[in-house]
Symmetry: C2
Subunit: 196 residues, 2 copies
DNA sequence: AAATTGTGTTAAACTAGTTTAACTTTTCGT
DNA sequence: ACGAAAAGTTAAACTAGTTTAACACAATTT
């Protein structure tokens, strides 16, 4: 892939595991640049997730539809974040999640067919992925803790504080879905906060 | 550490990444065997978590105390599972969680001071930890999904089905805490299930 | 400029799960 | 075997968050 486009990814990787020029160009030969339009799906529930995606620009939501047709947003991904259904990717089984673009989005895609080659040829990247998945796991556990111990209002305030950029870029009903509450209740919370 | 005691760990690792005899004995020189009694703490909230622990026998609970002094159980660990506060371990910051033994428990402990040496000397183990953390992350995400979309009764039935061994070994109020509901409500759910 | 679609608000009726409190049963140390 | 402590049950009053439904206000499309 085009080395210029890949710079934000290389910068991100180099923060965790410094790569040589040779390793960088080896990596570039195994990954793919791709552009999606707002509304397009990167992964659809039931499909096999064939890529782990690093977001260069734009914004995606990862969500699933429950049996009643209700959408539940699991995460948003913006610049320098990852987007994939990891359960589907690592075991090549049908995806639980949809990943859809909320803006025009540019991605670097790590294909499943080349990921083992990448690990074998550039062992530092096996370390890199261990490090970022460790952090993702810790973040996921902390989210479970918040679900248990915070009220909806507290969770909303936490979201605002942690992801102020994201709140600006997405409609409020998606924030509600991410927090696991109804849009009506989030509206109520916001009007309470506006007064007090 | 004593190779005989370590066999369940080696079997577990070999399922993911087959090790040579040399690699096995190198690993054994870096890890520690330890026994804890029922009630003892392996990690205390606020301390630095210095070990990642593999459970050889026994059972632990990982939990935290909220501001109101309420205990919230995050996970149980039995034979062939891991127990640690990964957030604390990987960045050597104060632990969010307590880990306490619910039975007399035997562990293999991977010390923070030797973990980088282990990765450097036995690169397969960097792969091994990547693989198990990937799975842990996927499991954690699935738990978030269940929290969002299942009722308390459904979550209880899921727990029973997934971890029938654990339910036999721990008091019911701890199951309630793990599910994020009160013991009184779990009691009600069970009596409903006993009828219908 | 009108019409449609997507997004946000308000309020009343409702429900899943909590709180409190009194009670029963089981487990455990001596 | 006994008493104390830990674990589990029941039920009534309560509350955080849902549902439904009607309305308001953009933003796009025609």
């Amino acid at each position: 892939m085009n080395p210029e486009k890949a710079q934000p990814l290389l910068d991100y990787i180099n923060k965790h595991v410094p790569l040589t020029k040779e390793e960088e160009s080896a990596l570039l030969s195994y990954i793919i640049f791709r552009r999606y339009l707002k509304g397009q799906y990167i992964v659809q529930q039931g499909d096999i997730c064939k890529y782990e995606c690093f977001v260069l620009s734009g914004c995606t939501k990862t969500f699933y539809m429950d049996d009643e047709g209700q959408e539940h947003i699991i995460m948003f991904s913006i610049e320098d974040w990852w987007a994939s259904d990891m359960g589907s990717f690592i075991s090549q089984t049908p995806a639980d999640f949809n990943i859809q673009c909320l803006e025009d989005t540019e991605l670097v895609m790590f294909p499943y067919e080349t990921i083992e080659t990448i690990y074998a040829e550039i062992p530092k990247l096996e370390r890199f992925f261990r490090l970022i998945i460790e952090r993702a796991f810790v973040a996921s556990q902390k989210r479970i803790v918040r679900n248990f111990s915070l009220t909806a209002k507290e969770q909303y305030l936490y979201f605002k504080e942690q992801y102020p950029e994201i709140e600006q870029r997405i409609p409020q009903y998606m924030v509600a879905s991410y927090l696991g509450i109804t849009k009506e209740f989030l509206s109520k919370i916001k009007s309470q906060l506006a007064l007090g």
